[in-house]
Each structure stands twice: as C-alpha cells, then as structure tokens.
C-alpha cells in the first residue's frame, strides 16, 4: 500500500500539476534569465513551443522599449533582493501581438540560501484590461457630464472630457486638487464640500443643485451626484462625482419667475391705481358737489332775502345760476358713470333682452317708443350697464327731434350669429356722415347746450359699455333724415 498523501507530494506529481495548468504560464528562469522550463499554460498564452523557447532570455517577452530600458533584468534584481516582484504590463507573444499580463517573479533558493533561479507566473488579463479600458474610454468620452473620481480625502483622481469642457481644467492641471476648487467661496466657507462627501458616505449618495465655479471664475448652475466608492472589504477608497451643467435651465426658470414677479407687481400696481381712481372719483363727487350745493343754496337764499318783488333781471340771473349748477351736477354724474364703467369688474350674466327693455321703457314711461324685439333673444351683459346704454340712446332719440315735430323712437332687436343688435331709430335732425366717428368721443358735441342740453358724455358712455361687453356701437344717419344708433352685444 502506498500513502496517497506522500505519493502526491513527490516532485514528479508537482511537476505534472504545473505542466497541466492552462490558465497560467508557469516557468523557471535561470539566475541569468534564460527560460529553463515551459508549461502548457505558457505555450498557450505566449505561443512558443518548449523547444522554441527554452534556453532563450525572457526579455524576448517584453516590448522593445522595455528591453532597452533593461526592465527584465532589473525585475530579476528586485526579485533576487526582496524575494518577489509583481507587475502588470504589456508583453509580446511569439506572433508579435501584445497581451496585458499580470506577472509574478519569485526568487528560488536552495537549502543553503543560494539563488538557483526564478519562478515566473504570468496571467493574461487582456480581457479584463480591455473591459476597463472600454469603460474608461466611455467615461472619458462623455462630454455632457463631468465625471470625476475623487480619493477618500476628496482629491481629484480622474477627469473626463465632460469635466474639462465644463470646468475648463485639463486633467494634468487638476489631478490631485481638492474638490473644493469647484465650489463658490461662500460654499467653501460653510464647508459645503466636506458636508457633501460626509453625506455621501453616510447615506450612500449625495445629490445637490448649486453654483459651481469654472477655472476662469465664471459660475454655472450644476446638478451634482456624489457616490462613495468602496473596495471589496467595504473600505472607502474614494468618490465618483457626476456633474451636469443646468445653467440654461436655471436661467430659464429664473426668467419665468421674473416674469411671474413682474406680472404680480403689475397686478398690484393696477389694484393700487384702481384704488387711487376709486378715491379720486369719490373726492370728485364729494368735493365738486360741495361748492355747487353752496352756490345753489346761496342763490336760493338770495332769492328769499332780496327785497320783493324781484325784478325780472334778478329773477333771470338767479335762474341762470341754478341752471348752471344743474348742468354741473349732471356732468359730474355722467363723468362718474363713465369712469365707473371704464374701470373695475363688471359681472356678466345671461338675461332675456325683453326684461332689459321693460326696464328701459319703465324709466321713460311717457315717451312714444315702439319696440320690435325678436322673441326669446337672450344676451350676455351686465343688466344695469346695458339699461344705462339703452336709456342714453333713447334719451338722444327723444332729444334730437325735428323742431315742431313730436319725437318718435323705434327699438328693433334681433339676433345675428353670435351677437344681438339692438337698434334705436329716430326721425330726428340726423347727423352728417363726417361727424359719425366724432360723436362717440367723450366731450364731443355738435350743438350748443342751449339748443340741445347735454354733457357730451352720453354716447361715449354707450360705446364704453358696449366695449366692456365685448361688443360694438355704430350709427347710420344723414343730416335731416333721422338716425339709427345700434349696439351689438354678445348673444347668450
């Protein structure tokens, strides 16, 4: 019976093991560096058959440049001195192609400690190397994102094209610089870089949006993600930081915000203007009326206190004062109406035109007004404003009748697509076409107040009311042939 343990410890068996390993090139070198043995892995990786390589110097596996630098010889010196040498680098196959090798050289000594040669183990890591290189090229090639790796202390260890484009430093300039280089001074002062890294370590990730600084000192708004990198044992070895330039988006957002602020400010200003106008109107109505009341009051007092009987001249003078006061009061009323209609909110409602018309006729019950309203027509208006507009038109139609003839007024209303036209027709003195545009302007009058009393506001008010409804006004008339004023308002 042989001892299987002992059997497997013989040199012959160990040699068989070495010979049959395919994934590692394992071979012996002489103290001078000549290849002394060659296993199947070495043949597979380097392409030489044993008889082709044994006896040749191992420098033949090295690129020419390294041969000139006597790197192979130096490696043996190191291995002899410290017992072991490990390296990664390009090596050359028999067919001249390169492969990325992990190389271990160990010094082999006899029992007396004398150097008898070297053992060399070479692994082909080209596949892994290519994968890493591909990955690095991808990272390096990314231009839209700055991808930076930092060591555990926050110093820059790698730098891609995106980082160079974004931050303007070349890799050579920035390697080894602290990450705080890219932070604005306020953030550096408040230790934001350190807090960012600490947060990344604590939570596994750190995200932020902040101003960062380029090499030329200009700022860009960046979105930032920092992730800690750990080795297989979980030890922190550094960080990856991915940075994206969001300046355009930030500026866009700021512009939008700016516009929103402007708008709010304008609305506030408009509200203030409205409030000012409101108080202005109130003052006008109060302060303009007070002296009028006084004039009228003292005219009345004079009439009572003067010795009677009054002469006809005095009587007429006092009547003129009172009449002027009435005109001024009417003017103030109309101005206030005009201003009220021009500003502020009007609440529109769907109402039957016949109801509005009834209100108009009720206010002027004595007048001879004929109406022809299309049944069932509804309009979208503010009732009181439309009533006022129609009353003004009816008043005009009654007022401007031909001398000596009684006024006649026809009101005709019918639907036209999306609007309703309400026409007020008279047989009065008419208006020459050249005046048609002017009469809708405020304070424009064609007659003296003696001939036809009025403030010059009535038609302007009608026009303004129609416009507030989204409607229009117009007139068809010729001198001496009567007038038809119409107002178009939205149909409900």
């Amino acid at each position: 019976m042989t001892d299987p343990l002992k059997d497997l410890q013989t040199e012959r068996v160990l040699r068989l093991l070495v010979d049959s390993v395919r994934d590692y090139a394992i071979f012996m070198l002489t103290t001078e560096g000549q290849v002394a043995s060659w296993n199947v892995g070495a043949e597979r990786i380097k392409g030489y058959a044993p008889e082709e390589i044994i006896g040749r110097h191992f420098r033949t596996f090295y690129p020419e440049k390294e041969q000139q630098e006597r790197k192979p010889e130096n490696e043996l010196v190191v291995a002899a001195a410290v017992g072991r040498f490990e390296d990664e680098g390009w090596r050359i196959r028999k067919n001249g192609s390169r492969f990325w090798a992990n190389v271990i050289i160990v010094a082999v000594r006899d029992e007396a400690g004398d150097l008898v040669g070297f053992g060399k183990i070479t692994r082909d890591l080209t596949g892994r190397r290519n994968a890493e290189a591909r990955f690095r090229r991808v990272v390096e090639g990314v231009r839209d994102y700055a991808i930076v790796t930092l060591d555990a202390d926050g110093m820059v260890r790698s730098w891609n094209a995106g980082a160079q484009r974004l931050k303007q430093y070349s890799e050579a300039e920035i390697l080894g610089a602290p990450v705080s280089r890219f932070y604005i001074p306020e953030d550096v002062a408040s230790r934001r870089p350190q807090r960012g890294l600490a947060t990344a370590v604590e939570r596994g990730e750190y995200r932020d949006e902040a101003w960062r600084v380029r090499k030329d000192g200009t700022r860009f708004w960046s979105s930032i993600a920092i992730t800690p990198i750990r080795d297989d044992d979980g030890q922190l070895i550094g960080f990856s930081e991915v940075i994206r330039d969001m300046t355009d988006r930030k500026l866009l957002m700021e512009q939008i915000q700016q516009h929103a602020n402007d708008l709010e400010q304008r609305i506030a200003e408009r509200d203030r203007t409205m409030a000012d106008l409101e108080s202005f109107n109130y003052s006008v109505s109060h302060d303009l009326r007070a002296p009028l009341r006084a004039i009228e009051g003292f005219a009345a007092a004079l009439a009572e206190d003067l010795p009677t009987p009054l002469t006809s001249e005095v009587h007429e003078d006092l009547r003129q004062i009172t009449s002027a006061v009435k005109r001024m009061n009417a003017l103030i009323d109309d101005l206030l109406d005009y201003s009220r209609v021009s500003r502020g909110d009007i609440e529109m409602a769907d109402i039957a035109l016949a109801d509005v018309m009834a209100g108009v006729l009720h206010i002027d019950p004595g007048a001879s007004i004929r109406t022809a309203i299309e049944p069932g027509v509804r309009v979208r208006v503010q009732r009181s404003a439309l009533t006022q507009a129609l009353l003004n038109l009816v008043d005009n139609a009654l007022k401007f009748h031909k001398p000596g003839l009684p006024p006649t007024v026809d009101i005709v209303a019918s639907r036209r697509e999306n609007t309703v036209r309400i026409a007020v027709k008279d047989a009065g003195i008419g208006i020459a076409p050249e005046h048609h545009a002017r009469i809708f302007q405020i304070f424009q009058r064609l007659h003296s107040t003696a001939a036809y009393p009025g403030t010059g506001i009535g038609l302007a008010l009608v026009k303004r009311i129609a416009e507030r409804f989204g409607g229009t006004v117009g007139v068809e008339s010729e001198a001496g042939k009567g007038s038809t004023f119409w107002i178009d308002v939205p149909a409900a």
Binding site: Y282, H286, R293, A294, G297, F298, A301, E304
Partner: protein
C-alpha cells in the same frame, strides 16, 4: 330749555346754509358747530375750552359729516362708541353728501343711529332739517348723556 345740536361740518358754506335752514324752519334748537373730527372729539370729551359744560353742554344729537379734516366721521363715531357710558350712547345722525352704499353700510356698522343725505337743492335742505327736527328732536326719546345735556323734550 333748548336741545343742543352738535354740527360737525368742515364746509363753511354748508354750515351757514344748515344754520340758515334751521332758522328758516323756525326750530327752537341751539346749534354748536365744530370744524373737524379732532374738534368734535374735544367737544364731546370736554377737553380744552369745552371743559366748561355750562357753556358747552353735551349734545342731544350729533350731526356728523363723513369727509372731515384730521379725523373723519367714521373715526369720530368709532371713538365715541368706545367711550364709557353715558357718553358712548349719544345719538349720532350722519349728515353727508355721500350716497355710496359702502359709506352708508359702514356708518351703521360703526353705530350711527341714522344716515341723512344732504340734499342738493336748498329748498330740500329746509325740508330735510324740518324732518330731522320732527323725528329726532320731537318724537324720539333720546338717551341721557350726562352733564349739561337736555333730556327728552
């Protein structure tokens, strides 16, 4: 003994015409006029010269304008209603040219007892004064308001 009517009115013409209307209406009432809101408060509170309640007794009714210098009618009535009794229960009739519903509502909210509009026509003013006298000073029972004031007629 006559009622004392405190007229708070900044406009001299209005004050004259109101005084004239009272005269024309042949109403037996003593009229005391102050020209702004601060003076109204001084009078009602008996400050400065108005401390003399024999010469300046508390009014039976205050005729109060709204638009006044220094302190407007709303401020005067707010102040008055915040005073201790009996002063706080003094009858107040707003007498103003403003017909704004906002003003009318506010006056009543603050404790006005009625709201009378100043007529535009002088002849209407005499009528308004007559109506005021007939209602407030003849028919109404008025509250006791302290020193110098006249109780119900």
């Amino acid at each position: 003994m006559e009622h004392l009517l405190l007229l708070v009115e900044d406009d001299d013409a209005d004050a004259l015409l109101i005084a004239r209307a009272i005269r024309k209406a042949q109403i037996s009432v003593r009229l005391q006029r102050v020209k702004d809101g601060d003076e109204a408060v001084d009078y009602l509170d008996g400050r400065t010269v108005y401390a003399d309640r024999v010469r300046y007794p508390r009014p039976s009714v205050v005729l109060l304008d709204i638009k006044l210098p220094r302190r407007d009618g709303f401020e005067v009535i707010s102040w008055l209603r915040g005073q201790p009794t009996p002063l706080s229960r003094t009858a107040v009739v707003m007498f103003t040219s403003s017909g704004r519903s906002a003003d009318v509502n506010r006056a009543y909210e603050l404790g006005a007892n009625s709201y009378l509009r100043k007529p535009e026509q002088h002849s209407d003013l005499v009528d308004a004064i007559n109506a005021f006298h007939d209602f407030w000073l003849s028919r109404c029972a008025l509250p006791e308001v302290g020193p110098g004031a006249v109780r119900d007629a």
